[in-house]
């Protein structure tokens, strides 16, 4: 049994009983979708289909459908890729790192954060695939034994490391998420009337892996969760470090920096928490989870955003300092060009959204306001997208030989694909919200008696 100080704010509001929790969490799955859900879902589905059409057009005609050119060979594609991967990071951090640190407040949000991770990584994984000139040969990047002769992948290439990093990350995240879902699936299975909907019952029964809530099951469950948390924790740091090496191991000024791995990981957590906030603030309203996702949760996350945001700011300034201190004129020019060149507006957006705006969280009132948090989380999402755009495009568009310098401008296909992945992400998330328990009810029940508002009296 947990013990928690009475002066700590409760994490479960509204005098809930165990049964209340079960009912609250099963309600979105068992009930009918409301109007808001349908509106959001239709919108997301339209965007998704539009995005798929743009992808099909790209694959049909060639990468020339995008705004890339001989100097800027990556732009929105890899920006989106890194952005989505970054968004995924908060989920793993919440479920793994915070588990190891025994942070109980994670229990209300880890399920959705992990869902976000998986859906985010799925969006991210689309980009390396479709950005290829010949995506139908994408399987060549896997070290599959083959009969093409002595062809093998190039283990020197950071892109190959990406393949391993992302596939590992994706599979571990999926397993971790799924293990956590087992008791909750069992709960759903047990609540379904077999006569009314036998299919549903069978399906949830299958997904629950025969969970019966025995003590032995709980013991194994706890152990597996701990082991997986231990496995996933290094991934929080490795995945984005490896993604950052796509840039850090190259020789392009603005990419070739040793600060990138920690800088990218921090940025990823920063953007991940912002996206979790964006999603949860909507979700708690749409599926009535106000009692479980409280302002305290939001405040905790805001503190993390403030912390990581400040660190990201330090990283930005360190980059500038290193460019100046290195004495390398190419390096100096790259950063000067970022801040004052033709893409100054992107750099300014990045600085404002990522460094300046999160500082507002020092103010208690802003930190503990749902509306302010929602607005600020959108700013952070935008800012982090610009961060990747700035790194990729402003470094490439003016590199070593001025004769090749040019600019990048997206086509409507570029925009369509990005918007399409947002649609796709929301389609997945909304379907998830209707089919899966959005809060780990089994876990949250474990803190009811220590952190429930009734028990704090």
């Amino acid at each position: 049994m947990q013990k928690e100080s009475k002066i700590r704010d409760p994490l479960i509001l509204g005098n809930k009983t165990y049964h209340d929790i079960t009912r609250d969490i099963a309600r979105p799955v068992e009930g009918k979708a409301n109007k808001y859900w349908w509106i959001l879902f239709s919108l997301a589905a339209v965007l998704m289909l539009w995005g798929f059409a743009c992808m099909a057009y790209t694959i049909g005609t060639g990468i020339g459908a995008w705004g890339l050119n001989r100097t800027v060979n990556w732009a929105w594609d890899i920006t989106n890729f890194v952005w989505w991967i970054g968004i995924g990071h908060a989920g793993t951090l919440i479920s793994a790192v915070l588990l190891l640190f025994r942070q109980k407040w994670r229990m209300a949000i880890n399920r959705s954060a992990e869902a976000m991770t998986i859906f985010g990584v799925a969006q991210a994984a689309l980009f390396p695939l479709i950005h290829m000139g010949r995506p139908w040969l994408a399987y060549w990047v896997f070290p599959i034994p083959n009969q093409f002769g002595s062809l093998w992948v190039n283990f020197n290439s950071p892109l190959l490391w990406d393949v391993f990093a992302i596939s590992t990350y994706f599979s571990v995240s999926c397993v971790f998420w799924y293990i956590g879902l087992i008791p909750d699936f069992a709960m759903l299975r047990d609540r379904i009337d077999k006569k009314l909907s036998p299919m549903k019952k069978n399906l949830y029964g299958l997904m629950a892996f025969g969970w019966s809530g025995k003590a032995k099951h709980w013991q194994r469950f706890e152990e597996v969760c701990l082991v997986l948390a231990g496995l996933a924790t290094p991934l929080v740091f490795s995945v984005h470090s490896i993604v950052s090496m796509d840039f850090a191991t190259s020789i392009i000024p603005g990419w070739h920096t040793t600060i990138f791995p920690p800088y990218f990981v921090l940025g990823a957590l920063f953007s991940g928490f912002a996206m979790v906030e964006t999603l949860l603030i909507i979700m708690r309203k749409v599926v009535n989870m106000e009692a479980y996702i409280t302002i305290k949760h939001i405040e905790y996350m805001n503190v993390i955003i403030l912390f990581t945001g400040s660190l990201v700011g330090v990283a930005y300034i360190t980059e500038l300092f290193m460019a100046w201190y290195s004495g390398v004129e190419f390096e100096q020019y790259a950063f000067l060009n970022r801040a004052t060149g033709p893409y100054w507006w992107a750099y300014a957006s990045m600085m404002t959204c990522n460094v300046v705006i999160p500082q507002l969280y020092w103010i208690y009132k802003i930190r503990t306001s749902f509306v302010a948090t929602f607005i600020l989380s959108i700013f952070v999402n935008i800012g982090m997208w610009f961060e990747r755009f700035v790194i990729i495009v402003t470094s490439l568009h003016r590199d070593f030989l001025p004769s090749s310098w040019t600019m990048f401008s997206p086509t409507f296909i570029d925009i369509g694909i990005f918007v399409g992945t947002i649609g796709f992400f929301f389609v997945l998330f909304l379907l998830y919200a209707r089919a899966f328990p959005v809060i780990a009810q089994a876990e949250i029940k474990s803190i009811l008696k220590s952190s429930g508002s009734e028990y704090k009296k």
Binding site: G67, L68, G133, R134, Q332, F400, P402
Partner: protein, 989 residues
Amino acid sequence: MKNNKKYWKGLAQLDNNPDIEKLAHNEFAEELPLDDFLSDDLSSTNTSRRDFLKFLGFTTAAATLASCEAPIVKSIPYLIKPDEIIPGVANYYATTIYDGRDYASVLVKNREGHPIKIENNKTCTNARVQASVLSLYDSARLKTPLKNGVEAEWSLVDSDIKDRLSKIKDKKIILLTATIFSPSITSLLDNLSKKYKNVEHIMHDAVPYDGILNANEESFGLRAIPSYYFSKANVIVSFGADFIGNWLNNDYSTDYISGRNPKKGIMSKHYQIETNLSLSGSNADKRIVIKPSEQKVLLSDLYSSLSSGSGPKDNRLSEIVKKLKANKGSSIIICDSNDIKTQLIVNAINSILGNYDQTMSMTMPSYIRQGNTAKVNNLIKEMNNNEIGALITYKVNPAYNLHNAKDFSSALSKVPLTISTSLYNDETASLMEYVCPDNHNLESWGDAHPSYNTYSLMQPTIAPLFNTRQFEDTLLKWLDGSDYNSFLSDFWRKRGVNWEKAVHDGFFNIKDRKSQVTSIAKLNKNVLSSEINNTNKIELAIYEKIGIGDGTQANNPWLQELPDPISRACWDNYITISAVTAKNLNLKNWNVANGALNGSLVNVTSDDVIIKNVPVMIQPGQANNTVGLSLGYGRMKSGKAANGIGLNAFPLLNSKFVVLENIEGEHEFASTQLHHTMMGRDMVKETSLAEYINNPSSGNHTETYPTWKGDLKADELTFYDQQDLKTGHFWNLSIDLTSCTGCAECVISCQAENNIPVVGKQEIRNSRDMHWMRIDRYYSSDMTQELASKNDVSTIDMYKEMEEPSENPEVVFQPVMCQHCNNAPCENVCPVAATTHSNEGLNQMTYNRCVGTRYCANNCPYKVRRFNWFQYSDNDKFDFNMNDDYGKMVLNPDVVVRSRGVIEKCSMCIQKIQELKLNAKKEGRPVLDEEAQTVCASSCSTNAIVFGDSNNKESEVYKLKNDERAYDLLDHLNVDPSVFYQTKVRNKS
């Protein structure tokens, strides 16, 4: 023993069963239900549902299978293989290219019976000559003779024309041709005038050189161009003549560069006094910017000070006067003016300096330009007066390229018989009654006598692609003569030429008698002028672009897409204007979101000529209050690549002043280089001759980095093991920036050899040019790092100002192709190892393996990797030569045509390297240094690009690699390129 063996099929046969007997007579064991199938009444048949489905299934499957047949590609084997053709092995034929504009003696590479590449034959070629092999396969060429625009038979056309020519009694028969320096054609024309009455031959050059020709006639009694020997000149003063670019026949660069060899300690001093920034101006040691109206004044001043001994009035000339006086007999003064008086002054100056018979010669003249504008103008008058009975044109397009083309066209309707021999149904041919299409040069026999003692021969390298006939044969038909091939060989055999050898070599020698010239008379002082136009009127200077020239080959997509070496724009012509004048007139250039260049539009008016919607490009080095405009564009009846591209500037040919009128709208340029200065970086290392003589490695400074071992160079700092490149071959390429004139011949040569696609204007605007090699052009800027630190300019301002080129910048050219780094940044980032290193120092691209992540292109510091953004071949959206069955004949069978989604780049002509290695191996000998060539190296007229094996200590490239001037581009990266550059040396003394 009697054989009692008996064979039987079955027991029934053995038993003589009568059923068997019966069955043996029937083909089918059972009665076929034919009646059921064939009867009209289906309801009465007993075909079951199952049978029906079987039949349906079978027929569907059969029909599907039948339609699945693979596309049939017909290849016709030789029934009797010609001895000299071995499939897969190239043949080379020596021939001559002359299209009325460009002359060159060339070698043509043939594969499987068709020409695919043009190589130099010991003379200069240029980009247009290199590209002419594609013009051969132009499907816009005429495919049959035309009569009144309708396809006709040769026999009909011939008999018509003969009949009508012979009926002309009192009117003239005019042959209007480009400059003809073919002795056999001249003799044919003689025969023509013997057979028909009143035949007159008029020559017309699209870009007229009457000024210099008439001046020489007056000065020397000989209407010809002098031969120039630039290598013998210590001082070269060119008043606007772009002799490295397009002046006359642009075959002077070899000679010019051989006089500029810092290694040998010789380097001419080249002054260029011009209005537009030309190729010559870019290469000059000193460039003085003048308005066209100042030219004659300065020449007069120069003449006066040289003849009187007093100093020049204009102090811009004082240094030149001093130099010229010190170099009498070893200088050249040339001028592009088409004004006879100006050219008389030039002649007088050269005469005072004693340059004749030293650095230039009228006794051994050049015949390359002989056009006579006065005669053409007279012809138009005579046409209007109904004095002309027949007009035959050859290699001319007067309805397009006369300044008074409209007058010509309207006068043409008064000529009863008009015959064109154009390759195209062009602006002129389409107005004429008969078109007897000529063969392309590469399908023709011919000869040429371009200058004193120089004769070259033309031989067909392919049977005529279309139902065309070469002009000479057409003439012979009308003369009832034999065929031209035997006429030509008899013609030269009679003159004692070893015909077989001459055809083999492509040229031969006959000792010409030196021309008799009168000695130059003293200059009449009346021609001198000191009137300067000080008004604000905008002066016009017409020029030709390197790619398009006078527009003869305008329908050649390679040339349309060849970036102008100076402006780096293609698919366009435009007004060039200085930044100051543009600002005064409120004309702008700006970059749009994707970087592409846009510009304002103007209407250009001069007297009664108005050209609307002319784009404006701001050009550093352009004289203030002047504009430049190039010829050759605005074709309307050439072909799909040329029609409607740019504007026709020929109507302004004789205009001196223009009025620019700002209009609404903007123009979209296709420019391959959007940034024009080096931004304080040292891509092009430069020194002066004096410093070079003092210290050969001057200007070639390599950065060192402090370490615990002391100061080390970047290549000594690596902690990786170096690849062994000492065994076997190590292919290296040296590019001498002193010798490179930026003429872009190598770019076209590379495009032809390596099947590089043309991508069109929009894709160039999208910065997606596909050229494997490009010639970067940088202007100097007024702002430098030293200046910034001296004047306390902030870094941000310094870089802002560095982006602006100087008003009269120094220009450098730098050919850049894949540098074949031995520590290649592209190689280790490819996830599928599609780009790898050879043990001969080459970076190799495996197209088949490429999945197209483009990481290599991002990580390339030189940005030389090219991605196939679309399918560029067989794609209607890229309707250039690779989407055309004729155009595809130019493709090199040794080089794969890349598909969409893969990266490509310079391979150092790996196909040629392989071929020469195999040949050497077969012959059991080492690879010779002189046979190892990339096409950029072999086509370079100035030998600026040298290729070879640097492990061969005897090779030229080995020597160059160890030269004090050699440096690696971006050496601080330590990517260790196999390509290296030689410092640019300018003669600043």
